[in-house]
Amino acid sequence: MTVATERRGAVSLTSGRSIGTARRVRQSGPKALLYVVMIVIAVGFLLPLIWMISSSLKPEADVLTVPPSFIPKHPQWSNYSKVFDIIPRYFFNSVKLAVYNVLGVLITSSLAGFAFARLRFAGRNLFFTLLLSTAIIPGIIYLIPQYIIFSKIGWIDTHYPLWVPRVFTPVFATFLMRQSFMTLPQELEDAGRIDGASTFTIYLKVMLPQTKPSLAAIGMFTFLESWNDLFGPIIYLSSAKLETLPVAMAEFQGEYFSEVSLLMAAATVSVVPVLLVYLLTQRFFIQGITMTGLRG
């Protein structure tokens, strides 16, 4: 490796000072600068969301002003009472679908992941390869055939297409669960078998509890996917009473387009649950992303 001869500032590399000390001396000024930069960027990032929340609390006339303002002068909650009158049905639908999706995916993917990781059975590798091979195909390819299938069996304008396919084709989740189960020590399983436990009991009581981080990450992702899903409801739902929150909001815009503060209140309500869950489970979420990303 070529030795760079650039020196930086007043740091002496020929002095007896250890590298650590040299670095520490350099960093007290830049540290403050770092904070400033990061705060500015963070504000920039959150600006749209801040505007969304503050606009929801403003009287309509104050929303689109020039120059733009980000803090409401007299916060008013009337928009929210209007929103809560309208949305309970949609909110409920979104929650219901989220629950079905999350529980369903956790069950199917952990069962399959466990089997692929720890059981020996004929065709194990074949089936696993089959499962993975479908991952290359973009979802849009399945879309039209699935729509046609569902229309033939009367599932259009029901909630089924919004969870059944996802729950029964958890490709990524199965992959993650398999990884997770594979890291568990064989002794754990052996101890269970010696105690006479059935395979299912070993899965449920012995091994599954050890995979909580993976379960949390998968749960988070599935929740996010389900709650924020736009495409599915657009295509499959037509009855207003079945709509999920984001899609209902999209229709809102047509009806209430002149009441921006109301729209912003609706938007805030659609975002708050996810933000809350995200804030509470961040660690698992970030972990989950790095799990699905590159290894090591």
């Binding site: 030795v3 590298i19 959150l46 689109l64 020996r120 399945y142 046609i148 229309s151 395979t199 999209a250």
Partner: protein, 311 residues
Amino acid sequence: MATTAPLARTATTTHRRRSRRMARRRNIEGWLFIAPVILGVVIFQLFPIVVSMYASLTSWNGINPPKFIGLENFRTLFGNDALFTTTVKNTIYFTIGTIPLTIILAFFLAMLCNQKVRGIAIFRTAYFAPYVTNIVAIGFVWFYFFDPSQGVVNGLLSQIGVHGPAWLSDSNWVIPALIVVSVWQGVGYPMVILLAGLQGISAEIQEAATVDGANAFRRTWSIILPLLTPQFFFLLITQFISSFQVFGLIYVMTQGGPGHDSSVYIYYLYQNAFAYGKMGYASAMAWLMFVLIAAITFIQWKLQKRWVFYG
């Protein structure tokens, strides 16, 4: 089951029979565990793949029986559909604009978030927040942000004396505006991937470089970036695949407008399938897109050797 030969029952035969029974029981167990997923894949993915391939060779509105027309759909796509060509151009423009900006910004943010200062997690949370926000809320907010006369963007620009364009109503600025929103929303995920990569770079390497006299810039350029090339490679592939399939943003914010200037591939596909009743045509579009994405991914894969460094 093998019939017992006229030999006496031996321990071996019994053992063999029991092994076979156990093996069969193990097989059934395994199959039961994977049954939901395998059934799902067959019914909701494999079967649809076949149907979709067939559909792409038909003219089909989804209700009446399909009419086989061979490669006619593809011929139309390649020669006779000006709107299709427009959407391909728009999608490529959008993709080329989004990917580098997203990855570069993500790298910059990851470097910031990698500092060992207190409260760093708060910043990470802030940069990631747009990623978990639903596209309708995002579309709403940015729609009004880009309002030509009263929106925040032009409002802020006018503070520095710049007269902003009509953004979403301006043919030249609509896709750049969409790129801004897309980068804003999308940067969180690559940032986390790169952050994980950064944290995997051992401190010793960086300190050794500092001992040799490398300043921060040199360290970044010659050590950090090369060691992160696997992550960049992964991100280039995944970001391309997802950017190319952008839909929600256009659906909420512009509906393809003004005119068709922001109509993108999946949006046009969706219109063909569900508004114009041309499911066969839409299926052909879907397969064409698959081939395109596969080809680009393959090219990226082959180029890997030239620039990705696996330590």
